[in-house]
Amino acid sequence: MALENKGETHKTDVIIIGAGPVGLFAVFELGLLDMKAHLVDILDKPGGQCSELYPEKPIYDIPAWPVITGQDLTDRLMEQIVPFNPVFHLGQMAQSLQKLDNGHWQLVTSEGTVIEAPVVVVAAGGGSFVPKKPLLPNLESYEGKSVFYAVRKMEQFRGKKILIAGGGDSALDWALNLQPIAAEVALVHRRDDFRAAPDSVNKMRELVAAGKMKLHIADVKSLEGADGQLSGVGANSKAEGDFIIPCDTLLAFYGLTMKLGPIAEFGLNLHENLIPVDTEKFETQTPTIFSIGDINYYPGKLKLILSGFHEAALMAQQAFRYVYPDKKLRFQYTTSSSALQEKLGVSDKAA
């Protein structure tokens, strides 16, 4: 899998927003028609809902696969698109989309990566996976200042009095990683049982026993402070009742949830948070921007993987006309076309 360095400018034929099953299969359909693709996904792995929400669950309605798990489906799709060398920009939010003077689109990601292409395919599914926010009063005024859901640069937290909320791998990993550089690290979790990797849990318990980390078994209830700067977090436990944990930084790890995100600002005339498309080309009301998979809307739409695959095939036909306006498009089967087989690396000529 090709992973590009963050923060560069790239030119390609098609930008695909979302590396879920439908975005992945779009690479295949575009590739058969000689179009190169770059994919952007906020997750750090491909597969969308299939790999994030139900990797181990069996799916029974993928044609010709009587049963296949979410992760296996993702792995097979990744294998199927290898011949087309797609470039993945993972861990990045597709943030803004702008039309350039030459008629191409310029997409900028949250990490500053710039991608330019004549065609954009929005395959954003149920939306981007983003951190779930704790339900706390006045949360917004602290976000980005003293409340965070991810660690981008560890240095930012040097010398801080950090409280980390959660009991999974993210919470434990960051508690362990930040402990040496922070002034203080405390962990707050609702129960004295951690689902994180046992090794991390053991290390955490050792630090707590040595007095180098604090552990509170409690619920987080309130944020204390002013002007976005935390001075403490209100907590409650059965043993201690209400109490304040002094800190100047809160890192909250409560898993992920899907939110539409920046795509709402792309000017695509949303219909109840979905993108309306035609059913011939799966193009949005903005020519050269297509939308396929769970995120699109048309009469009779079914949010099924197989529908998204079909949409990808039809989308590619029209995308070809934009990417190669002077070329003629011929319909061919992969079974019998030696030209297609060459692209797939399976022809005698390619072998």
Partner: protein, 105 residues
Amino acid sequence: MKLYVTDQGGVTHELEGIEGWRVMEIIRDYGLPIKAECGGCCTCATCHVYVDKEWLDKLYPMRDDEQDALDNAFDVHDNSRLSCQILMSESLDGLKVTLAPGTEP
């Protein structure tokens, strides 16, 4: 077979229970607001409910994965359960649950 569900706004609804269905699915099928983002995979905790105290002991006990998933919920109480992990049956006729904060779609 009845199921009583109090929504996030405090209004109680009488739902027809369906044998063998997950309580989450019955709530969603009836049209009450419930996010249930992972579709019953016991990972998202956005189907979190408070079970009426008198019914708590009658439910099948929580498995570890349900406890784990509840780590991603808020305002977890002793009577917190994930409604996708409760199967409706005759023995639960009359079950009362309240949709917890964070379950709004």
